[in-house]
Symmetry: C2
Subunit: 93 residues, 2 copies
Amino acid sequence: PFFLAVIFIVYAIVKLLLPKPSPPPPICNPAIKKESPKVADLVEIEDLAKEKISYCRCWRSSKFPYCDGTHNKHNETTGDNVGPLVLKRKEKE
Amino acid sequence: PFFLAVIFIVYAIVKLLLPKPSPPPPICNPAIKKESPKVADLVEIEDLAKEKISYCRCWRSSKFPYCDGTHNKHNETTGDNVGPLVLKRKEKE
Ligand code: FES
Ligand code: FES
C-alpha cells in the first residue's frame, strides 16, 4: 500500500503540474448549416420587399439569415455585445 | 508520511471525480466596439454606392462592418464555417 500511495502522489503531482489543454478558439456559428464549408448569403437589393429588415450576425437566430432577436439572449448569457445588420430604405418625404 | 499519503490519495480521487468547470459559452465578437452594449449597424439601401458589397458576420474583419476576407483565416484556424452577407444589385440587362 505504501508503494501504491507513492504512485498516486506522483500521479497527482504530475497531473497538477501539466499545463491544461487550452480551450479551442471560439467559433461564431455553433449550429447553422455546418455541412457547408462557408455560409455566405446573397441579398439582391431589388428583391427587398420590406422597408426595413435585419440580418443576423450572432449565428443564433432560428430564422437565419434573418435576425429574430436571439442576439439579446446570447448577449445576456455570454456577455457578448453583438447585434444585427439592419437594411433600411430611407423615409419617403 | 502514511497519513500524508492517504490525504494525497483522497485529494487526487476527489479531484478526478469532480466535474470539470464547463468552459464559458463562446462569444461571437472578441474585439469590436466592446464598449457598446450592442453593435448593430444600419445600412440605408439608397446609399449603397457599389454594385456589390460584403458585410462581415465573423466579427474579425479589420474593416468591420465590411468583410475583408478574414473569415477565411478564422474558418481555417477554428474549424468554423462562417461567411459574409453579400448585398448585390442585379445585373442590368
Ligand atoms: S438574432 Fe442574431 S443578430 Fe439578432
Ligand atoms: S471578414 Fe468577417 S465575414 Fe468576411
